[in-house]
C-alpha cells in the first residue's frame, strides 16, 4: 500500500492560508424593495441549505433595488450592509451571491471604487461573486414595459411594474452603462474580482410536471407572450446573452442541475434542482 506523502512545509503553508481566510456569504436580491428577503425573496430553506456546512457567517441584504443602481437606497444601502457585515464579522473572504439586478448593483460597487469610501474595503474583501441570472445586458422586456412612458410629459404615468430599476435595465440603457460606467463586459477592463454567472436557459411550465412548480409556477400563456421579446435561450425574463454578458460563465443550468432541469428566472433564487447544493459546495 502506498501512501501519499505531503511535504510537511506544504501542509503547514496550506493550513496557514486557510486559517487566515474568514469566509462570509452575502445574499443580494434583485429588482424590488426588500424588507425581509430571507423569507420572501430567497426563502429560509434556500439560505440555510447553501450555508449548511459553511459556517454561520452570512448576511441577507434588504435594500431598495427599485431605484437606479447608483442611488443611496441601492448601492449605498448595499455598501452599508456589506461593510457592517465585513467589519463586525471580520470577513476577509466574502462570497457574494446575487440574483438578477443584484448583479448590476454589486458590479456598480466594483466598477466605481473612488465613488464611495466604503467601496474599496468591500472590493478588497470580496473573494468572488456568483451571479445567478444577472441582467448584465438588460432585457427587451424592460423596454417593452417602458414604451408607453414616452407618450407622457411626466414619467408619473407608469405602466405595469416599471420603476427606475426597470428603466435602467432596458437594453440600450445597460449598453450605455456597460460602455461607460461598469466593467466586466467584452472589450472593457475586467472586474477587480471574479464575477461568474449561472445562466438560466429555459422555462419548464408543463402543468403536469411537478418540477415546473419549484419556485412558483408561471402560467404558460403569459410566458408564450413574453417569449416574443426574447431569444430562444432565455429564463423567461432574461436572454442567455444578457446573463452571460459580464464576467465569466460558470455554467448553464442544465449542465449541472439535477435531472438537467432548466432554471427559470424565479427558480434561480430557490432550492430547485440542487442549485443550493451546487452553491454550498462552491463556497
Amino acid at each position: 500500500m502506498k501512501f501519499l506523502k505531503i511535504p510537511s512545509l506544504l501542509l503547514a503553508l496550506c493550513w496557514s492560508a486557510t486559517a487566515f481566510a474568514n469566509t462570509g456569504v452575502a445574499f443580494v436580491h434583485g429588482t424590488g424593495k426588500q424588507t425581509d428577503a430571507y423569507t420572501n425573496y430567497w426563502t429560509g430553506d434556500f439560505v440555510q441549505s447553501v450555508m449548511n456546512g459553511n459556517g454561520n457567517k452570512y448576511v441577507v441584504i434588504n435594500c431598495d433595488f427599485d431605484q437606479f443602481m447608483w442611488k443611496p437606497e441601492a448601492a449605498g444601502c448595499l455598501a452599508e450592509q456589506l461593510s457592517t457585515f465585513i467589519t463586525q464579522q471580520n470577513i476577509n473572504a466574502l462570497y457574494v451571491i446575487t440574483h438578477s439586478n443584484g448583479g448590476n448593483v454589486i458590479r456598480w460597487i466594483m466598477s466605481n471604487p473612488t465613488l464611495d469610501n466604503r467601496y474599496p474595503g468591500i472590493i478588497n474583501a470580496i473573494r468572488e461573486v456568483t451571479a445567478l441570472a444577472p441582467s448584465s445586458k438588460g432585457t427587451p422586456l424592460a423596454d417593452a414595459s417602458n414604451n408607453g412612458n414616452t407618450f407622457e410629459q411626466s414619467v408619473g404615468w407608469l405602466l405595469g411594474y416599471t420603476s427606475d430599476a426597470v428603466r435602467q435595465q432596458q437594453v440600450g440603457w445597460m449598453a450605455q452603462y456597460n460602455n461607460n460606467n461598469l466593467y466586466g463586459t467584452a472589450g472593457r477592463p475586467s472586474l477587480p474580482k471574479p464575477f461568474k454567472a449561472v445562466i438560466g436557459s429555459d422555462v419548464d411550465s408543463a402543468f403536469w410536471d411537478s418540477d415546473s412548480y419549484c419556485g412558483g409556477y408561471q402560467y404558460q400563456l403569459g410566458l408564450e407572450i413574453t417569449q416574443n421579446w426574447l431569444d430562444d435561450c432565455s429564463d423567461g425574463f432574461l436572454e442567455c446573452s444578457s446573463q452571460a454578458g459580464a464576467g465569466s460563465v460558470w455554467f448553464y443550468d442544465k449542465s449541472k442541475t439535477r435531472g438537467r432541469e432548466p432554471l427559470s428566472h424565479h427558480q434561480s433564487r430557490r432550492d430547485c434542482f440542487n442549485l443550493d447544493k451546487i452553491l454550498r459546495d462552491d463556497i
Binding site: 447608483w70 465613488l115 469610501n117 474599496p120 414616452t150 405595469g160 440600450g172 440603457w173 460602455n179
Partner: protein, 369 residues
C-alpha cells in the same frame, strides 16, 4: 481616435504652475488587467433593431375601432391600460378582425392577470393573431363602455417579421459641446423600404420632449440632428431617449415601426489639458492636469500599459483617482500599484491609454484622450 502618451523611461520631474490638491477627499484605486484582454478604445457605436411599434389610443378610439398594420401572421398585440384612471379592459369584449375579410384575426387571448403572472406586464392583456391569416390591416375594437378619455397603449410585436427599423448612433455619451446625430434605416432583409412618415423626438429623463431635425431619403434611411436642451439632465438623473416612429409601404403592405435608443448627456464642465507619466527610481505615477469651469468631484481613469521583456506592450492595470477640484486648473495624481507592476513583469516604456475624465456629481464622462 486612439490617444496614447508615450513617455521615455528616464527619470523626469515636471514642474507645474499649480500643484496643490484642493481637498482631502482624494481616493485612488488600481486593479490588475489580464494581459491577454483586448480592450476597446474610445467611444463605442450602438445600434438597435426593432420589429414592433406602439401608440397611444383613447377610450373613444378603442370603442370606434383602430387600425393596426401587420406584416406577418402570428403577431402579438398588447393592450395596456394606464395605471391610474383608465377602465380595466374586459378581455372578452376586445375584438380584432381582418379589415379585408372582417373575420376574426384572433388565435389566442391572454388576460391581464395571466400576463401579470410573468412579473413583467401589468394592466396589460395580449392577443396573438392567427398563423393562417395573411399579413395586412386589422381593426382592434372594444365593445366595452369605456370612458372617452381613458388612455391605453397598443403595442404590435412581430418577432419573425422581415421588416425592421434600425437606429444607429456613433456613441451613447455626449457632452454639451458635441453634436449629436443618429441615423435610421427601415428595411426588409437589408433592402430599404420607402419611409412615408417619420416622427422623431428626444425625451429627457424627466419626460420632457424636444424636437429632432430629420431628413429622409428615398432609400428608406433617415438622419437626425438633435439639438441639445438648454438645461441638461445629467446621467445621475437617468438617460435621454431618441424615439423614432416610421410608416412605410412595401409590396402592398403598410409597415409601422418604432425604435428608441438611450443617450447620456453631460455638461462639459472640465477637460484634460495634459498627462505626464513620471518614472522615478522606485515609483511610477502620473499627473493629470485638469481645467474645470466649475467645482465638482472629478475622477480620472486610465489603462496603464507596460513593456514585456519581449518588447511587447501589454495592459497591466486600470487606474482610478478622484478628488474634488475647484474651478480653474488643477492637478490630479494617478498612482500605480508597484506590486501589480512587478507581478506583470513589465518595465519601461510605459503608456497610459484611454484616459477618461468623469464628473462624479453628474455620473458622466466629460472628456476622453
Amino acid at each position: 481616435m486612439k490617444n496614447k502618451l508615450l513617455i521615455l523611461a528616464t527619470a523626469s520631474i515636471s514642474l507645474f504652475a499649480q500643484t496643490s490638491y484642493a481637498a482631502s477627499d482624494y481616493a485612488s484605486f488600481n486593479f490588475a488587467i489580464d494581459a491577454k484582454q483586448e480592450l476597446q478604445q474610445g467611444p463605442q457605436a450602438y445600434s438597435v433593431s426593432s420589429n414592433e411599434y406602439w401608440r397611444q389610443v383613447s377610450g373613444a378610439e378603442l370603442k370606434s375601432g383602430i387600425v393596426l398594420h401587420t406584416t406577418q401572421p402570428g403577431a402579438v398585440v398588447l393592450l395596456s391600460s394606464a395605471k391610474q384612471g383608465s377602465t380595466e379592459l374586459d378581455t372578452g369584449l376586445v375584438q380584432l378582425n381582418s379589415l379585408d375579410t372582417q373575420q376574426s384575426a384572433i388565435e389566442k387571448k391572454v388576460s391581464a392577470s395571466d400576463l401579470a403572472s410573468t412579473g413583467v406586464f401589468a394592466n396589460t392583456m395580449a392577443i396573438t393573431t392567427s398563423e393562417h391569416l395573411q399579413a395586412g390591416s386589422l381593426q382592434l375594437v372594444s365593445q366595452q363602455s369605456l370612458s372617452d378619455k381613458d388612455r391605453y397603449i397598443v403595442t404590435v410585436k412581430e418577432k419573425h417579421s422581415p421588416y425592421a427599423l434600425k437606429l444607429n448612433i456613433a456613441q451613447q455619451s455626449f457632452t454639451s459641446e458635441q453634436t449629436i446625430s443618429a441615423t435610421a434605416q427601415l428595411h426588409m432583409h437589408n433592402q430599404g423600404v420607402n419611409i412615408q412618415q417619420l416622427n422623431a423626438e428626444l425625451i429627457a429623463p424627466d419626460g420632457k420632449k424636444y424636437p429632432v431635425l430629420s431628413s429622409v431619403s428615398q432609400s428608406g434611411s433617415a438622419q437626425f440632428y438633435l439639438s441639445k436642451p438648454e438645461q441638461i439632465q445629467s446621467p445621475i438623473n437617468g438617460l435621454y431617449e431618441l424615439k423614432v416612429s416610421t410608416l412605410g409601404k412595401d409590396q402592398g403592405l403598410t409597415v409601422q415601426r418604432n425604435a428608441k435608443l438611450a443617450i447620456a448627456l453631460v455638461d462639459h464642465n472640465a477637460s484634460i489639458q495634459a498627462v505626464t507619466l513620471k518614472d522615478s527610481a522606485d515609483k511610477l505615477s502620473a499627473q493629470v492636469e485638469i481645467e474645470a469651469s466649475q467645482s465638482s468631484r472629478f475622477e480620472v481613469r486610465a489603462v496603464l500599459y507596460g513593456t514585456t521583456s519581449q518588447g511587447k506592450l501589454i495592459p497591466v492595470m486600470e487606474s482610478h483617482a478622484a478628488q474634488t477640484l475647484s474651478a480653474g486648473t488643477e492637478q490630479l495624481a494617478l498612482t500605480f500599484d508597484q506590486d501589480m507592476l512587478a507581478k506583470a513583469g513589465v518595465s519601461a516604456p510605459y503608456q497610459l491609454q484611454d484616459i477618461r475624465l468623469y464628473d462624479q456629481q453628474q455620473l458622466g464622462l466629460v472628456d476622453r484622450k
